[in-house]
């Protein structure tokens, strides 16, 4: 998509030149990951960024209008005092959770096929958590007094803990994005040199912390990364639990439910996984990553998403069953299932639950376009579901039986759309400054993620190489990637680093040696 001025030999700087397949792989990875960062951007890219920026600017304009005219201009009223912006906060921070946890879980379980996805997942997490946190500002009636939360601290307020949890999570997401980036920053500096953008060179040089890729550094980085990956999972659980307690600690039927924290956590994971699929397939196409992100990646994420979807459906049932059966506080349920929010609720059921399950179950649909559409549906349906979680309890009467109502206005819709547009915009700008794939991990993992292509094109070469690899630890990767080709293709990955796989995954290495 972009004119490239990277020369092939520059790409190879610092790699082990003994291995030609390794070399080829490295060149491919590096050029694909670095191409979007260098040279002139394409017309299409600039057009997309321009349009998205306009939408974001329109959102900011709408927010300024709202500041001037009050939250009433966004459709709020006293019987719908929490509505679209709190939904946006939950939904955006929610999708961020998916990106972070997918990356963290795949890291912790040593899933080597993750390599081409981690940067996209972590980038999505970073961009969406920032957008989600920013949605707190249109939510507030007096955003300019936000600092008071830090000064007039009230530790018994759920919102104080929301602030603490979200703040911690934003920081953790940044660290989680930055750590795997360290080797890449050094690699990018080596490839692109000082001339391209001197400023970037200097910043990257400082941020890469003199990364050489030696064994000690590698061990250290992997240790820290495992630790952060380990921390970010419970941290994200806590964020969504604390978010849910802002609702669950009130005395409103429909909010005051014990199931709410896990309900929020699973919704976040579910929609987040869906967004990762959407982002992965969009960048696969837009940034020409077809070679690296394959159908198998998307299908695996699709399975993960479908499993989460079932858990979420179960929790939805659990949430409604107790209140609905006892009949004590059924108002919000009848409004949800058959009343004012019925269209939204059944939209969630069809598009957010049935459609993804059908797509994953039926082989004909279980492909990249099918799963992308289903995932997009899930992301939208889960946003709608949050509306259904927030609005019926907030509009229900606590005295008497006059239900309130919330109506979207151009202000609230524009600001929400701006948030939506900010996701691709943020990602496109982000991957203009950092590599779109984790080069270091891709090189370390080798061609694990693309077994189909391997079987067609490079099987022979890789088999030869695994036999003839100089340092002898070209371990098999047939294990773990579950491809149906049965090719135990140990294609010599990672031996460029001298010690093979820096993860020190002994079990995998020994299995490879047995094979």
């Amino acid at each position: 998509m972009k004119e490239t001025n990277i020369n092939e030999t520059a790409l190879l700087t610092g790699t082990d030149q003994r291995n030609s397949a390794k070399e080829r792989w490295s060149v491919e990875v590096r050029s694909a990951a670095v191409r979007p960062m260098s040279g002139r951007t394409s017309m299409r890219w600039r057009l997309a960024v321009g349009v998205l920026s306009l939408i974001v600017l329109a959102g900011i304009g709408a927010w300024i209008y709202q500041l001037k005219h009050g939250l009433g201009s966004a459709g709020y009223n006293d019987q719908a005092f929490w509505a679209v912006y709190i939904v946006d906060v939950i939904a955006f921070i929610g999708v961020s959770y998916g990106g972070a946890v997918i990356s963290a879980i795949l890291r912790l379980t040593g899933q080597s096929w993750r390599a081409p996805l981690t940067r996209l997942a972590e980038g999505t997490a970073l961009v969406t958590v920032v957008i989600g946190a920013l949605f707190i500002f249109p939510h507030l009636g007096r955003p300019e007094r936000f600092w008071e939360i830090l000064v007039y601290v009230n530790t018994s307020s759920p919102l104080f803990w929301d602030f603490v949890a979200i703040g911690t999570y934003v920081m953790a997401t940044m660290i989680f994005f930055y750590l795997p980036l360290i080797p890449d920053l050094a690699i990018v500096n080596r490839i692109l040199g000082q001339e391209d953008k001197p400023m970037r060179y200097r910043i990257f040089k400082a941020l890469s912390l003199r990364w050489m890729g030696n064994e000690r550094q590698r061990r250290l980085l992997h240790g820290v990364m495992s630790l952060v990956a380990l921390i970010i999972v419970p941290l994200a659980v806590s964020v969504h639990s604390v978010l849910s307690w802002a609702f669950a600690t009130t005395s409103r039927p429909g909010w005051s439910e014990t199931v709410l924290p896990p309900y929020f956590v699973i919704a976040a994971l579910y929609s987040g996984t869906a967004l990762v699929i959407v982002v992965a397939s969009a960048f696969r196409k837009g940034y020409n990553l077809q070679r690296f992100i394959t159908k198998r990646h998307i299908v695996r994420l699709g399975y993960f998403m479908a499993a989460l979807g079932l858990v979420y459906a179960y929790l939805t049932l659990a949430d409604m069953m107790t209140d609905g059966y006892t009949g004590i506080t059924t108002g919000w349920i009848s409004q949800t299932v058959t009343g004012r929010y019925a269209i939204a609720f059944w939209f969630y059921v069809l598009v957010g639950e049935v459609l993804p399950l059908v797509v994953v179950a039926v082989k004909r649909f279980r492909n990249i376009p099918g799963l992308t559409i289903a995932s997009l549906g899930v992301v939208i349906a889960l946003w709608v579901k949050r509306i259904v979680i927030v609005l019926p309890p907030v509009t229900q009467p606590l005295i008497g039986n006059q239900w309130g109502s919330y109506h979207f206005t151009w202000v609230s819709l524009t600001i929400t759309l701006a948030g939506v547009a900010a996701i691709p915009l943020g990602l496109m700008l982000l991957f203009r400054v950092v590599p779109v794939m984790s080069i270091d991990e891709m090189e370390e993992m080798g061609e694990l993620g693309s077994a189909e292509q391997v079987s067609e094109h490079t099987l022979v070469a890789s088999e030869l190489l695994s036999v003839g690899a100089p340092n002898g630890n070209g371990h098999s990767n047939g294990h773990g990637n579950g491809n149906g080709h049965g090719n135990g293709n140990g294609h010599g990955n990672g031996n460029g680093h001298g010690n093979g796989n820096g993860h020190g995954n002994a079990a995998r290495v020994s299995e490879g040696e047995v094979q």
């Binding site: 001037k68 005219h69 009050g70 939250l71 009433g72 201009s73 709020y76 009223n77 006293d78 019987q79 005092f81 929490w82 939510h139 507030l140 009636g141 007096r142 955003p143 007094r145 936000f146 008071e148 939360i149 000064v151 007039y152 009230n154 530790t155 018994s156 307020s157 759920p158 919102l159 104080f160 602030f163 802002a246 609702f247 600690t249 009130t250 005395s251 409103r252 039927p253 909010w255 004590i328 506080t329 059924t330 108002g331 009848s334 907030v394 229900q396 009467p397 606590l398 005295i399 008497g400 039986n401």
Partner: protein
């Protein structure tokens, strides 16, 4: 239809019996009677109360330990704090002030001479909507800002009746506990007020209030005439855009010997302004009653006592009226 006996009152109204300061409360007789009622129904309320107390004291101990460990952070002590309330904060006693500034005020200020309360006689209310009109006129509120709101509910005979609902001025106000910036506070006369210069407009208090008694300033198109004084928490006029407003009990009026706007505006004399300290209540018809006796004789109840909010607004129920039944009628 359920006729409220004294025993029933005890079960409906734990507020009256769970106060620590029994002697200084309504009167000694009421205290004894309700205690006797408790003894008769140990499984009904006593058991519940006991286990709740035990749970809360355990919770309080845990919170205390957490506070020591966290060097003063009152971690999750909200309910334990609530349990401790009657000692320092009983509605007939001295210094009911909680929230920001409570500690430094209590020691230097003289104890307040009034603890404001309200009694609403539902048997007298004919639903004429005079009270919200008077309130809105005095506070320059928009038509949907019904700080005093008259709800139409159904009684046990299927007949409708009217329920005027001011802010309950809870002694244990959920809105106060959830405010992230201490914008809501409870002044020393027991009135819960909002500092609109501090409120960040998060509306957590609106979510927490079980009585829907809080109203937000949603729109900027509200016009005010020139006013002689600046907006204060006691008289928040003009109100500030993007902040929460609520019934102030017209505490300025009360302190100047005037009735609140709603009480003064009630043609039926259904609304009494009362003072727990001097044990007097007055309505717009000039009827002056001994507050404790008036509440006791009429089996007065508070609204949603199960929420543990300890309101300072009491209702006298008319024939066949049952607030507990209406609490869960939202469908």
């Amino acid at each position: 239809m359920r006729k409220l006996s004294r025993n029933k009152q005890a079960s409906v109204e734990p507020n009256l019996i769970t106060q620590d300061s029994c002697a200084s409360s309504l009167d000694g007789q009421n205290c004894q009677v309700t205690s006797a009622a408790l003894a008769k129904e140990p499984v009904d309320e006593g058991e519940k109360e006991f286990s709740r107390r035990r749970f809360l004291s355990m919770f309080g101990a845990a919170a205390g330990a957490a506070a020591v460990i966290g060097s003063g952070i009152e971690l999750l002590s909200y309910r334990a704090y609530a349990q401790g309330l009657p000692k320092t904060n009983n509605w007939s006693g001295d210094g009911g002030m909680t929230g920001s500034g409570a500690a430094d005020m209590a020691s230097t200020e003289a104890p307040p001479t009034h603890q404001w309360a309200m009694v609403i006689d539902l048997g007298m209310c004919n639903g004429c909507q005079s009270c919200p009109a008077a309130c809105q006129k005095a506070h320059y509120l928009t038509p949907d800002q019904t700080w005093m709101k008259v709800f139409t509910l159904t009684d046990n005979d299927g007949q409708t009746y009217s329920l005027p609902r001011p802010c309950m001025q809870c002694e244990n106000p959920p809105c106060l506990h959830v405010c992230p910036v201490h914008a809501t506070f409870r002044q020393d006369q027991g009135v819960v007020l909002v500092n609109q210069d501090r409120c960040i407009g998060c509306r957590m208090c609106m979510a927490a209030c079980p009585y829907e008694a809080r109203y937000f300033n949603w729109n900027s198109n509200v016009s005010y005439p020139p006013l002689p004084v600046a907006s204060t928490p006691e008289f928040p006029v003009p109100q500030k855009l993007g902040t929460v407003g609520k019934c102030t009990f017209c505490v300025g009026n009360l302190n100047h010997g005037l009735l609140s706007e709603c009480a003064a505006g009630c043609p039926m004399g259904a609304i009494y302004n009362g003072d727990l300290k001097t044990d007097v209540a007055v309505n717009s018809l000039g009827s002056t009653v001994k507050l404790s006796k008036f509440l006791y004789d009429n089996n007065a109840v508070t609204y949603k006592p199960e929420q543990n909010t300890h309101p300072r607004v009491w209702y006298i129920l008319g024939h066949g009226q049952d607030l507990a039944a209406n609490a869960a009628s939202a469908s």
